[in-house]
């Protein structure tokens, strides 16, 4: 068809592919996004390695331990144990050791698993909630809107950190409890934005046209409104993902985060507060956790941004090329 109508070649070309295929093609061209995807893949790989148990021979006998534990047992071994605050580069500790002589690189890699589980599970809880309630409220208006807005305004009225703290004290510290608490409080922001945008879209011409053609409510919501909300979901998801990982640090610092034995970046940063104010300050644990957190969050932010540019047809029209 494109050969017969030479004037519309760019349109015909993009019509030949699906939205997602088209987006993937654009994303592939964005080198920075691909680098970030690679970084995320490395983190995910470390997280998976941390969850896969293999047989490990120790002095006490054979036991199952995560791959990372085995690798570090071989590489660092028992040589420098018992020595606290080893600076980076000395002995076999690449990034130094903490107060108990535990390798900081090991702790940093162990923190990946917690971050990935937190981000993923929380998003799985909060995004469907926020999207569904937001669209229903914005589209139908009236009583349904009042109920949804009532529920989320009441929740949103309570300062997030206090609600999180209260929920965590009820459920006790732990990773899964943290996911539930963050998910239950996290859908409100998305829901509010989705509702606001749906209010605008409801009045738009193409929705009126669809209604005039006899489309049902479900069809209008899922076919005509939902695709126009994706960019909001992506922005909120990327910002939310980083926010969740950072909330873990804050909550753990306040003592209502993960359990005391869990190794997470938040735990490392809260331990670092004392270390930084020592007289030759111990900065490596703080720097390692901060850097690991920064790189993962940065990768997610940049990749999410590129994904949005690739997916969002409205920004794609002109945007950067103008």
């Amino acid at each position: 068809m494109s050969e017969t109508t030479p004037q519309t070649t760019p349109f015909a070309e993009s019509k030949a592919r699906s939205l997602w295929g088209d987006a993937w093609r654009r994303l592939r061209r964005n080198r920075l996004a691909m680098v970030c995807l690679g970084v995320i893949a490395v983190y995910v790989a470390v997280g998976i390695l941390d969850m896969m148990p293999v047989r490990m021979k120790t002095a006490a006998g054979v036991k199952w331990a995560p791959v990372i534990d085995v690798v570090f047992d071989k590489a660092v071994g028992e040589c420098d144990k018992e020595e606290s605050y080893v600076p980076p580069g000395t002995g076999r500790h690449l990034l130094g050791a903490d107060i108990q002589g535990v390798d900081v690189l090991y702790k940093t890699m162990k923190g990946v698993r917690v971050a990935l589980i937190l981000g993923g599970v929380t998003a799985l809880i909060s995004i469907p909630l926020g999207l569904l309630f937001g669209m229903i409220a914005g589209y139908f208006g009236g009583f349904i809107d009042d109920v949804v807005v009532y529920v989320y305004s009441t929740l949103a009225c309570i300062p997030g950190i206090l609600l999180l703290i209260a929920l965590m004290t009820v459920m006790e510290n732990g990773l899964l409890q943290l996911c539930v608490a963050l998910g239950v409080t996290g859908w409100v922001g998305l829901c509010r934005l989705i509702r606001g945008e749906t209010l605008k879209l409801r009045e738009s011409d193409y929705v009126l046209a669809a209604r005039a053609l006899g489309a049902g409510h479900a069809r209008i919501i899922f076919v005509h409104i939902l695709p126009n909300l994706f960019h909001i979901v992506i922005i909120v998801f990327t910002l939310g993902f980083s926010g969740i990982i950072m909330s873990e640090a804050v909550l753990t610092y306040l003592g209502v985060g993960v359990k005391a034995g869990t190794i997470s970046w938040g735990m490392m940063i809260s331990q670092a507060k004392m270390e930084l104010s020592r007289s030759p300050s111990v900065w490596w644990q703080f720097a390692a956790a901060a850097a690991a957190l920064f790189i993962l969050v940065l990768a997610f932010n940049v990749f999410g941004d590129a994904l949005r540019d690739a997916l969002d047809p409205k920004l794609r029209v002109g945007g950067r090329t103008e």
Partner: protein, 325 residues
């Protein structure tokens, strides 16, 4: 329009009741009175003392409905009604730990908190909107690209890292700012400089990126093309057309930012020793002082409800296309 505003204002009443219900469930129902009394008295409390406290605080009453009481007192003489009256009349009682009057504590903590959050909020809003308008003006250039890159990098740093790093580098090492402390009156400025700077840096990246997205979305609209076709200058288009049409997301964002501001100032006040409401709240969290906590939650919720009301009213003012059915 007027009917809508009145309806919307009346709507805050169930909201306040909802917040009372949630605080009641969290702080009163989920913790047994015995545990609370025991926490106040310490480990070695005997049963008689615990019973005394429970009776003094009225924790032995039924939760929502009192069968024994006559008439109206069936509803009035319950723990939920007591809780509601305590919050609605602003008679929060005394702190469970320090036995200080909570109302007085809050009035005393308000000024230091506001001296911190108001500059952060006002400066942050002005700086980020100006910067993102400038970025939208230079869209597609290297300046735009680099501002976006820097914004994303700024956003990717945890608030704890900003605070700890700022304190460690700027205050402890370079000695540019005092590390910790607060003074009443004009002397507080030197103590507030570093926390305000840190909060601005923390908020700037996300705000500029968000507003830039909003502005660019508007710039691709037809009315902008029309304005350009009329021969309007680019800065007129940005300031008069794009800014006005971006008001809804900006308003939503601004009100949404207020609770997060509250969260940020919790940490800032804690780290820099500013004796404000955030510091008081964290002290209450650490000592599990539920009376102070529920009072703080209630006041925060009241402020938020007022802000929410103002946003929804301003929606109808800035965008006449929106009709509330």
């Amino acid at each position: 329009m007027t009917a809508y505003i009145i309806r919307r204002a009346l709507y805050t009443i169930p909201l306040v009741i909802g917040v009372c219900l949630i605080t009641f469930l969290l702080f009163e129902v989920l913790y047994s009175p015995e545990l609370r009394a025991r926490r106040e008295l310490g480990r070695h409390a005997d049963k008689k003392q615990i019973q005394e406290i429970i009776e003094r605080e009225g924790w032995d009453k039924p939760l929502f409905f009192n069968r024994q009481a006559p008439g109206f007192a069936k509803v009035r003489d319950t723990r939920f009604a007591d809780h509601m009256t305590r919050l609605l009349t602003f008679h929060f009682g005394r702190s469970e730990k320090t036995h200080e009057d909570i109302g007085r504590k809050i009035r005393r903590g308000m000024v230091p908190s506001l001296t911190l959050t108001v500059p952060i909020f006002a400066l942050g809003l002005v700086v980020s909107i100006c910067l993102s308008l400038a970025v939208a003006f230079f869209r597609g250039t290297y300046l735009d690209l680099w501002v976006v890159v820097i914004c994303v990098a700024f956003m990717s740093v945890s608030v704890l890292v900003y605070i700890l790093g700022g304190q460690f580098l700027l205050a402890q090492h370079l000695k540019l700012f005092p590390i910790y402390g607060y003074a009443r009156g004009i002397n507080s400025a030197k103590f507030l400089l570093l926390p305000v700077l840190i909060a601005l840096l923390k908020g700037l990246g996300g705000d500029v990126r968000f507003y830039r997205t909003i502005f660019l979305e508007q710039i691709n609209q037809d009315y902008v093309r029309t304005a350009r076709a009329k021969g309007l200058a680019e800065h007129v288009i940005l300031l008069k057309h794009v800014l006005k049409n971006s008001m809804i997301p900006i308003l939503t964002r601004t009100v949404l930012a207020i609770p997060f501001l509250f969260m940020g100032s919790l940490l800032l006040e804690r780290f820099f020793g500013i004796p404000g409401l955030g510091n008081m709240t964290i002290e209450a969290v650490e000592s599990a002082d539920f009376k102070v906590l529920s009072a703080m939650v209630y006041i925060g919720a009241l402020l938020f409800a007022a802000g929410n009301l103002a946003t929804d009213i301003s929606y109808t003012l800035v965008d006449p296309r929106i009709r509330f059915r």
